[in-house]
Symmetry: C5
Subunit: 245 residues, 5 copies
């Protein structure tokens, strides 16, 4: 097991955002056979949760990755320890995303309750087990350069965009986290849907919105099913000897 | 073998699209030698079919992948279990596509029979063993932005596009599935042709159609031959001890 | 060895193009050491030739691949069996191309002899052992969209293009095969030159031709030397115990 | 261990920049298990520091790399020896950046103290353990070509850019090193922040500055936490038997 | 060792350019540990030199590759044998470039001495051990299409370009080799500098020249130090048992 308890180094002081939480999406290949120990995953998730961190497990479809883990909490060092514990299981992170929860500049005046929900989302939402994640940036082409628009134009575009998104209320929960300067795109988008076609319909419809049509650049999409950890590991062929997730 | 029967976790509830079926294309490398057990593949396909899922096997040409498996059915968890079983054989998914059957917005009023054929296609079609798959998106450039066109313009372009496609009726069956928000492109296109040049001629001719010429972006192409599973495994050098496919 | 003879499955019916031949370019890494059995390659090539398939071996330069094999013949299943046999040797296909010989629409009226030479080329040509392969597509940008040009304009551009090519007659043989819908580009170009600078001069000069300058998109280039199989294997450090190629 | 002491070759003469220092960013995967010897890393860092080289260790988040090491000093041969020693530990460099400290042409007249701080930065800065690195280039598109602007225009743009940067004084230290002709982008940017959202806010805000909005192209981002070597190795699951970093 | 001497095949006739020399840049990962035999590298280089081929060894910085070998000589078969011998050592080519020395069309009338220096460069130059290699092509965009310019315009641009280059005479030696039709870019550029900042300053300054600013597309950069083979291997942690390089 992961020998954090044996270390004689004095731990570094926590490194947290001054506002909001750090978010680490890990997408892992899980090797078939004896090279993988699911119990190490279970312990890592249990330990992170015991420290007050949220961990959302998902079984992913397709070749890109098998196991998705979305971890949220204050301290980057603790998230890295979590990642190291996951790697110690034999799972291999093959994709990931590093971001922070945030209140966007266009939402500066939202009510306190909504503000808390954005900075400290409670995940996963009940009854929405269809999962996808994708990163995105705003376009900076000669004809459509988001960063040359003034604040009012951008705010208006974002409002229109949000209006389309709200028509999916109840079918899709959208969690947008900021990653400019931290990862290759500017935002990470995590969607939780009731049905997989809720995810598809939502992203498809928003693509016609001007903020997306002219200004969005999308990265790769990771799709799967949120479930408790044992269900996820079982779906990955790593049948559980017991326990809960 | 794959220990799904040993799990003590209560299975998660099925996760299905509210309309249509989920489709998982898996493109796998099949290792030469003892690292691969073809029998595990046979059991996985048999088991999925026993649960009412369709599985179309194909032997692929070239370095991208050896074995293609197109699986269709309602529950994403069941498709993931299928994928895990495939991986347990030693086959390595190196490409894939996640999509859903759908009635496009341009085909909203099609007759019920056609609607059923699109949502629940019966695959593979008889006598069309030339296979290719590619994903595609609509372009969002400054000059040609599909998502800035109004519905009528898009519908007209799609009608013209469909007209070209229909001239290949009898030579090519085209299955288009939606993946916006689920995978890296917006649609997956699976073609079944009588001859390999039917596939080539069809895609070539459609490329002159305005909907393709100005608005289509294509991903990688996977090409091969559909056959029963034993024929496919035999073509991959995994001679069968018996059984049917 | 490759157990095709042990299979009890009834073979699938051949799958051939209705016009011309299927072409499979395989570019393989050849592992140093005991993981590779050159004899398996020799048998695979011998067996394909015995079935009437052409196989052109080439030793390639650089990291992209070591061994190039260009195989031509009618049946896709037979070509896949050839590929599986190659893989059984320990050679690893790391690049490839799938295409068909064709009479382009601009050459519809060529004399029968030329037509046969294009659909059934006899390869490799005598005395032209400098080899390169690259795939290409026609551009579909806003300013230069090949697929928006009318047939006459395209034909005229292709004529000019061909005229430049013909000035290299005797120095370079060009084999163009079609792959729209089959592989990631629209055509595969295989060049055989007397000297390596014949290849360079030919492609360089054609790049100034309008059909290339404005409309061509090129994929990766694979370069090497055509030789008999034993010479090629010897150049790859796989000295032959005897035999011919 | 690394046998530099056993070599009987006469060492090549040092190869240093005529102005400033060489900088090598190494981003490594650290294998779990016996394939990695943390002690070799400790010795390599100790030895480089004993020779007067700076080494900044960082634990990185996400799949791109586990361990970041930013090494600065005069001699390229010595930096390569450092890299070889790191590789001898079992750590695998999977990303890197080669650059030189420099006084940009726009800062030719800075005071000597600032000049020294740029050519010989003392790293890491106290109290700024949030780390990110990314490479960038100036755009050379038809509409926005940095290299077609005259010096005065470029200088003005850089001044505006610097002004935004200075509003983050105290929260973010920015180290920009030059790599035109040495690595794939033109500059490497290393940021040290008090909080991770300092990095995000700084890069986000600068993206609206015209020099970035119209002229910047960004490479991949590597994000993590600077700490002493033992803290970093511990965070990577490589608990220390003792020692300091 | 490499069994070229055991082969019973009659060697294929040499394949050489009709003008100039073939150039093979190999960039290799050198595995730590017993999987690599430096002695095999030493023999391969010695043998190539004995056959009249030049081999320039370089230790490279960063993750892209460890060992660089630039080999020049007439016969492609001999260069491939050299590559096979390198691979037999356990070194793994992970990047490479295939090109030919040439007299560009803009330099058709250079004095014979310069012509010889370009077709048969003597490498490495004395006292210039800072090394970099990068491939490049001329742009073919709608606004800046090199291949649509007439010869005089291109010649003028190349003259201006050369003038900038000549200001670095004594600090940088530039070797440009042609690869249109042979590798993915149109030219390979190998620079030898007195100091690493000579390389940086030279490429940086030329980037403002119109031929680069509007028309150049650059590939990846490989940077390191030229030295005798033993010094290079020692820098890679492969301490020499003796011998010279």
């Amino acid at each position: 097991m992961f020998p954090t308890l044996l270390s004689v180094t004095s731990d570094p002081p926590p490194l947290a955002a001054s506002v909001g939480q750090a978010v680490l999406h890990l997408f892992c290949h899980v090797p078939a056979g004896p090279g993988f120990d699911a119990e190490v995953i279970r312990q890592a998730v249990k330990s992170a949760r015991a420290d007050g961190y949220q961990v959302v497990p998902a079984a992913l479809l397709g070749h890109k990755a098998d196991l998705g883990l979305m971890a949220l909490g204050p301290d980057l060092w603790r998230l890295r320890a979590f990642q190291s514990e996951i790697q110690a299981s034999g799972a291999v992170p093959v994709a990931s995303y590093v971001s922070l929860t945030e209140i966007s500049e266009y939402a500066a005046g939202v009510p306190e309750e909504l503000r808390q929900a954005r900075l400290f989302p409670q995940l996963p939402p009940e009854g929405k087990s269809a999962f996808c994640f994708y990163p995105m940036s705003k376009r900076r082409s000669a004809e459509h350069n988001w960063y040359s628009l003034d604040f009012e134009s951008r705010k208006e575009l974002m409002m229109g965009h949000g209006k389309v998104g709200r028509t999916f209320h109840g079918r899709v929960l959208q969690v947008i986290t900021g990653s400019t300067g931290l990862d290759d795109f500017e935002w990470g988008v995590t969607l939780f849907g009731v049905h997989p076609d809720d995810l598809k319909d939502c992203v498809y419809e928003m693509r016609f919105d001007e903020a997306s049509a002219h200004y969005a650049e999308f990265g790769p999409f990771y799709t799967g099913m949120v479930g408790d950890l044992d269900a996820v590991l079982t779906a990955l062929g790593q049948g559980a000897p017991g326990g809960s997730g």
